[in-house]
């Protein structure tokens, strides 16, 4: 099934819940990406500077539709700019994780032997470990900043790619066409590049989407705990954390809007990741995690 079939919902897909989930997710994510890219042109106020007096409630003043926070920053502008930061960190984290995890998975699965066992052991150990705790330790050592947080998060996901790719590689390397290539004297790189990799990479796509969801959540969590992005940076997690003291005064909008954006973004990627494996292979019901 090709991508066009998928998106247009051909072959009776349209009716399935998975299709609807996938499409909802896709539209959420597309919207967020557009917001993130256009952020500098669409923010009504500078998100790094106070825009008005503090605690203007939302939906009262059209100039500050989502209200202002404890220092008079415009919540909408912060939320828009936060989209940019959250997606950026998540994107970097997923890319770093994939570019480390996939080659290692290929290598481990194809070569086997001691390398495979050692790598599998390390990866399994990391995989078993609660991700955010490892990320806290790493973020603590690396210090705040977009790239540092991305690296800290990436480390958690390397094993995920490794495991998926390794499992697929184990199957593919037994295939006849690989045997044939080997017999024809193709070298290691060639076999990997032209015969193995293209056949295992599709398995990584749903993982990618789910990792994206997780990465957004983890970044928000780290920033909430104060080990993520620096405290003046517009970011959903940072903003929720900075405003959590407002709750007792009954001021809800300063935590709610950034918080709900984390939820929406995570939901978008989760829906894609949920729908995708079924759509790619309707008989498979499980989720690859």
């Amino acid at each position: 099934m090709n991508l066009a079939d998928l998106i247009l919902g051909r072959k009776g897909l349209r009716k399935s819940l998975e299709y609807k989930m996938f499409m909802t997710g896709l539209s959420i994510v597309t919207t967020l990406v557009v917001i993130a890219v256009l952020a500098p042109y669409i923010v009504p106020w500078d998100p790094y500077k106070p825009a008005a007096e503090e605690y203007i409630p939302p939906f009262t003043d059209p100039r500050y539709p989502l209200g202002t926070n404890f220092l008079g920053y415009d919540v909408l502008s912060r939320v828009i700019w936060g989209t940019r930061n959250s997606l950026l960190v998540a994107f970097l984290a997923v890319m770093i994780a994939a570019s480390v995890g996939i080659p290692l998975g290929l290598l481990s699965g194809y070569v086997g032997g001691y390398i495979d066992r050692a790598l599998s052991l390390i990866m399994d150990s990391v995989y078993a470990f609660p991700g955010i705790i490892l990320a806290i330790a790493l973020a603590f050592v690396l210090g705040p900043g977009i790239v540092n947080v991305a690296i800290a998060i990436a480390v958690i996901y390397v094993p995920t790619y490794f495991r998926v790719i390794r499992a697929c590689t184990l199957v593919v390397r037994e295939q006849l066409f690989v045997e044939a290539a080997k017999a024809m004297g193709a070298d290691f790189i060639t076999i990997m590049r032209y015969y193995v990799a293209p056949n295992v990479l599709t398995a990584a796509i749903p993982v990618l989407a789910l990792n994206f969801a997780d990465a957004i959540l983890t970044e928000a969590g780290l920033s909430f705990l104060g080990v993520g992005l620096p405290p003046t940076e517009p970011d959903w997690g940072v903003d929720v954390s900075a405003a959590r003291g407002d709750i007792v005064r009954g001021i809800w909008w300063t935590t709610f809007f950034p918080g709900i954006m984390i939820f929406v973004a995570t939901l978008g990627f989760t829906l894609i990741g949920e729908g995708l494996p079924y759509l790619l292979n309707p008989r498979q019901r499980g989720r690859i995690r």
């Binding site: 078993a128 929720v240 809800w252």
Partner: protein
């Protein structure tokens, strides 16, 4: 059974190896990467010779591989060193906090299982109806909602607006020091000492964090329940039962759920890592004095030994729980054996 026995033995042998791998990882993160514990311990007025002496006392002047061996040796003897900040053994700090986390996690797990099994069973029973869709969407939402958002909103509505539950902490100040922590699990301690007033107080403190955390975990259990029930419902004995005209809900409770329950519980056990990760954020949101808050506090104090101790404890717990659930799972599902 020979293969099962081999698997169990292999899995048990793997346990220390995994622990050591994780310990090494922690060592690499905390010791090899830059950062200076000494400057954290000593204040601005410490003379340089004191700095040097402390460096020696902490063994930071030795080559890395010696430091590594020292580190492993100490941890294997249960020595987590002295907290730089509190100046008391890290082990003494970790244990009560770990028990607090355990209490929260266990309650959260109960809530997660109750919620997850109910929703999952409902979904499977009413397959492809609106109810199925709703329960599945609740499941998806539980993956996506940040636990601190859920927690803050609960604090706002249930705590601030309605005043039903205390918004943070583990016990009200007025009860502090009024019972002896015997097991460290306050719910049990207060009960066996007959202090039901405190028991109720502790329970009230636990309701919101445990529910928030439980909801986050319930998604996985929800999905698993639905999936394994659907599998069971396709099995021959169910079809036979249906053919005999037994009502659908009785089939579900009497035949299907009973068959699916053990794997569901085992899978719930496998979510332990997820539970601990969620607990860090939950504890922080509710200022609950557990291992997670301790880790985060220690990060703000840059208390290296405390951070290291907390992470190592997490690692050991996770490896033990994973090994147990893996073995249990192997008993249930013969396919998992390698």
């Amino acid at each position: 059974m020979a293969t099962l026995r081999t698997y169990v033995i292999a899995r048990l042998l793997l346990m220390p190896v995994m622990v050591i791998t994780l310990l090494t990882l922690v060592f690499i993160i905390l010791r090899v990467l830059p950062g200076d514990p000494v400057s954290v311990i000593l204040g601005p007025k410490a003379p340089p010779e004191v700095v040097e002496e402390l460096r020696k006392a902490l063994g930071l002047d030795k080559p890395l591989h010696i430091q590594y061996i020292d580190y492993l040796g100490k941890i294997l003897h249960g020595d987590f060193g002295l907290s730089y900040y509190w100046k008391i053994p890290v082990r003494d700090l970790l244990w009560p906090r770990f028990l607090a986390t355990l209490e929260l996690s266990l309650l959260a797990m109960v809530i997660a299982i109750a919620l997850g099994v109910t929703l999952g069973a409902l979904g499977a029973l009413k397959r492809n109806t609106v109810i199925d869709v709703v329960t599945r969407l609740i499941g998806v939402a539980s993956y996506a909602v940040p636990v601190f958002l859920l927690g803050l909103m609960m604090q706002l509505i249930l705590g601030v607006y309605l005043g039903l539950f205390p918004i943070s902490g583990r016990i009200s100040s007025e009860y502090i020091g009024q019972f002896r922590p015997i097991t460290g699990l306050y719910l049990i301690d207060t009960l066996i000492q007959g202090r039901l007033d405190i028991f109720v107080d502790v329970l009230k403190h636990l309701v919101m964090p445990a529910t928030a955390l439980g909801f986050i975990i319930s998604g996985v259990i929800n999905r698993m329940t639905r999936q394994s029930l659907l599998e069971v419902l396709d099995k021959e004995f169910i079809i036979a039962a249906r053919a005999r005209g037994i009502p659908e809900d009785r089939i579900l409770t009497k035949y299907a759920l009973r068959n699916a329950l053990i794997p569901i519980l085992t899978i719930a056990g496998m979510q332990f890592a997820l539970l601990l990760a969620g607990a860090v954020l939950t504890e922080s949101t509710f200022s609950y004095p557990g291992l997670g808050t301790f880790l985060v506090t220690s990060v703000t104090y840059r208390d290296y030994n405390a951070i290291q101790g907390a992470i190592v404890l997490y690692a050991i717990v996770v490896v033990i729980v994973n090994t147990i659930t893996d073995i249990l799972y192997a008993f249930i599902d013969p396919r998992v054996r390698y």
